[in-house]
Symmetry: C2
Subunit: 184 residues, 2 copies
């Protein structure tokens, strides 16, 4: 079994990694989905659930839930089947620690785009939680940096620069995933 | 005048950037040299000087000295001459703030290599302050990360991946420097 974490600041292109991986039969675990699923179970709001989950189970509950999810998954399937997992949205060095403890060959792929590129992407995309002005953009970056995402990015096993074109970015993702799958 | 900062964890290849830049008539300012020069002036040890300088002038004395150096330099020369500077060894977001305040078009180039690659380089290189065992290597990384270098790397304007071959790395450096010089 191979588990790979994906990290990057908002607008860097993390979701494209998940899309490419899905086409390669890799299972995708989104850290955000763990909270969303729990919110549905509790019939509560997402923001409220995120806070409560941490109060009840500590800061690393989301990472720990991801580990459980992957372990359940791998019990379900045929033992002969080579399972691969991508965890999208890793933000803190402590999360990395938890994943490394549970999955011996755990690797991190970081995606980098310049602040200028990320800002213009987020502006174009305008998801509900995306930032459309510079102050908001910086605030959002700082929120992520406070979790320690900068350290996760700086010490990643792979770094993909995503400044376009998208086919080049997708090729880099495919090459890394193929390389990681071959090794295990 | 264009000023570009270079950042990267130990063993990533920062000094190659300086070497390439020198061949392109770019002036190199090494943050470490500022302390070394001051130590010679004071006839004191480097480590001791680093501590004393900070005690006397605050945490950002090295960045501020670099700014002074660059400003002196640019007064010396012919005003028509397009001066370019590389500052090697930027580690903290506060240093970036100081440089951005003083040089309007200031840009950061980050160099990334995987921890595995950096460790084997440092082991091969064995400079006095380089780490030859994993614990020492991690300790040194953590010392840099505590300064906030992860945030500087994650939010850099350019990211160069240096996993070899060296000619490819040098080409990337040249392209970025040419691009930055053209713009200003």
């Amino acid at each position: 079994m191979q588990v790979i974490g994906v990290t990057g600041l908002p607008g860097s292109g993390k979701s494209i990694v998940a899309r490419v991986a899905k086409n390669m039969d890799v299972n995708i675990i989104r850290m955000g989905d763990v909270i969303r699923d729990e919110a549905i179970k509790r019939n509560a709001e997402i923001g409220e659930t995120a806070v409560k989950l941490r109060e009840e189970y500590g800061d690393y509950v989301v990472a720990e839930r991801c580990v459980e999810l992957i372990k359940e998954h791998s019990n379900d399937e045929n033992a002969e089947c080579e399972l691969k997992f991508i965890i999208e949205g890793i933000r803190s060095p402590y999360e990395v620690k938890i994943f490394k403890k549970n999955f011996k060959t755990f690797k991190i792929i970081a995606i980098h785009s310049s602040p200028k590129t990320r800002f213009s992407r987020l502006k174009r995309r305008k998801r509900e939680d995306d930032s459309s002005n510079v102050a908001e953009f910086k605030k959002r970056d700082n929120r992520e940096l406070k979790f320690g995402i900068g350290n996760v990015i700086a010490t990643s096993d792979y770094m993909i620069v995503n400044e376009g074109p998208v086919w080049k970015f997708k090729n880099s993702i495919r090459n890394i995933l193929k390389n990681e799958v071959k090794k295990h």
